[in-house]
Amino acid sequence: MAPSAEAMHEVGARFAQVLEPGDVVLLSGPLGAGKTTFTQGVARGLGVAERVQSPTFIVVRQHRCANDRGIESLHHADVYRVGTLDEVLDLALGELVEERAVALVEWGELAASVFGRDVLTVTFSVDEHDQRTLEVGGALSDDRADALGEWSRQ
């Protein structure tokens, strides 16, 4: 895809449509690949009204959602600066999402072991022509895989 914020917002907003309460999504990719921009799109897709700024400074930001799919809040985290895996555990993102919420974790690959198997992963890459590629993975039920397949074809 082309390197525009609008395009990344659109992709994120459509990705939001396959999310379910309890999902933890680990976002990985180099600096400037579009992780925060993608999350802004997801937030839009989940009906977050407020501005979604980078969570780097305070590590986790919470946003209230308005949608008809039972997802009431979005936890947006950046674990880049977190020193140890224990600290990622302290953030208790897995528990935060149990109640009608989803979590998107930037630099999530650094902490993947903390989250276990039940996560979705979105891996961002940038080629020499500045084109972005998003790769989605993780433990998926057939239904989810179908929905994501649908998403990726759009």
Binding site: P3, A5, P30, L31, G32, A33, G34, T36, T37, Q40, R51, Q53, S54, T56, F57, I58, V59, V60, R61, Q62, Y80, R81, V82, G83, T84, D86, E87, D90, V126, D130
Partner: protein, 334 residues
Amino acid sequence: MTVVLGIETSCDETAAAVVDENFHVRSSIIESSIDQHRAFGGVVPELAGRAHVTTLGPVVARALDEAGLDPHHPAIDAVAVTSGPGLIGSLLVGLSAAKAYALAWGVPFVGVNHLEGHLFAPLLERSDLEWPLMTLLVSGGHSMLVLQSGPGTHQVLGETIDDAAGEAYDKVARWLGLGYPGGPVIDALAQQGDASALTLPVSMTGSDFNLSFSGLKTAVVRASARHADVALADVAASFQAAVAEQLLRKLRRALEVHEVKGVALAGGVAANSALRAGVSALADEFSLACHLPTLAMCTDNAAMIAAAGLYRFQAHGASSLELSAEPNWQLAHV
């Protein structure tokens, strides 16, 4: 005379200060754990929290002592503390300590918004402040344009829609291998560089007052990867010029739309030389008083928290001891 003890632990500075009702700073102590964070390329939340725990007691004692007060039974009228925004673990250290001091000394306790603290900084350095004031508040966690009609009365005209300006400095510096914090090192390098070396996109050209630094950060990373032959100093100079250009363009527009008596710069990025020169030039052009903070006042400090706490206490009274930390406390919600 009302005297307030201020405490600040929202990020990596542990600070305490004593300020009186004339906004006279009687003492201001700042201890930074920045050396501990340097190895990690940024503030490490857990490290910051632990550093505050060990540093805060001695810092408060020194602030009281330097203000000529008895550290055990100080003659103060309130304890003010940053209760947000910031890192939750760090905020809680200061907040819990402030409540304990207030209870032990039998004085009121006041929770202060860190950003409002920055807005009070000019009052501590200038006695001739005239309102309204247009403030550009830029730091590692925030970037916003604030119109102040008086102390404690503020309107956020616009703010970053993604990264803070200081955050972009830190991320670009880390990517270039320049270490942490990014601001001073890029600023110093930029002095020797050619700002026209890289062509960077101009962000946020709309007529609103919002800011954006995420795209610029990405553009610098991509452009310097593509042009590996461009000197580091030239990359730094190009990036710095683009940051200042965006901030100054928005500030200029704000000054065209809103009639004010003065313009102020606040927050950690207020130490940036390009920004200081640009704001100063804009103030001259619009014939406005210009308030550039001293470097000590750019840094997170407790004197500004005591000052904001003094105002909050006099105007609105004490906070409840049940007040909790708010990591995401927006200035607009103060």
